[in-house]
Subunit: 136 residues, 2 copies
DNA sequence: ATATATGCAAAGACTTTGCTATCGA
DNA sequence: TCGATAGCAAAGTCTTTGCATATAT
């Protein structure tokens, strides 16, 4: 079985434990919840190490971050129905008109079980025209 | 034309200006960007007031918050393709199986927007089974 | 051996809050 | 008028970082 870890820089003790704890969990813990879990097994880990590794491991694709685009809060004066696209390079957010997609969006997707679902948040991710033309 | 403001508690000067600035904008500013804009017209506004009002006005439906569920970062040990449901009462997050939706959504919208769209973030919002049974 | 990662603690970024004066309806 | 809000500044919460030491390969 492929663990994904073989391509990872160094499999240190904290990293191994973080990964194990996260994989054993069906909840979706915050950094400090992970810290508490790890601390039971490695009483001297530091919160900083947990933060650093959660970040590094997300980028390596070993774990997933919810939500990837998380940063500062943003506001929109337009309360009409529409969606947003976020540029992964510069963080810019643009509007996406709802169109036919909007109304059908919900029926496109699998329904969560057990919940009273009142809405869906949808955000497209990509590279904006300006950033696309920038040489790396 | 309906402004939506008529149902709002008090239309104070800061609130009026925040709303005007936000409506005039096609970008999606952060709280402190709004603060800067408002400050040009009301040099004495405080950042706290801007924060408070952005919050109150979002809840009143006068403006929109991107993103509603924003809070602490969460992590997931499962990197397989799937979505999440978030309980708006307790903050709990559960898994939703993927389905073909994601890819369809991308190919559907990628073109019109001008972006190179590489992904979509989808999150359902609702009330979880546990919270549904709690009397208010 | 040695570059990478850790622990610790201090600093940062963003947001919230307590309090008194002020303002809108 | 008078309760809802503003301004101010201090406090909070979550996250990042600098640095000397320890560690995985």
């Amino acid at each position: 079985m492929k663990t994904g870890v073989e391509n990872f820089p160094r499999l240190t003790k904290p990293r191994r434990v973080i990964l194990e704890e996260l994989r054993a969990l069906k909840t979706h813990p915050t950094a400090d919840q992970v810290y508490e879990l790890v601390r039971r097994r490695l009483p001297n880990v530091s919160l900083g190490t947990v933060y650093r590794n959660l970040e590094v491991m997300s980028e390596a694709g070993l774990i997933r971050r919810i939500w990837p685009g998380a940063e500062q809060r943003r506001y929109d004066g337009d309360v009409q129905d529409h969606y947003h696209v976020r540029c992964l390079k510069c963080g810019r957010i643009d509007d996406v008109p709802p169109g036919a997609a909007g109304t059908r969006l919900i029926s496109f997707l699998a329904k969560p079980v057990g919940y009273d679902v009142t809405g869906v948040y949808v955000e497209y991710l990509g590279v904006c025209p300006a950033c696309r033309n920038v040489k790396p």
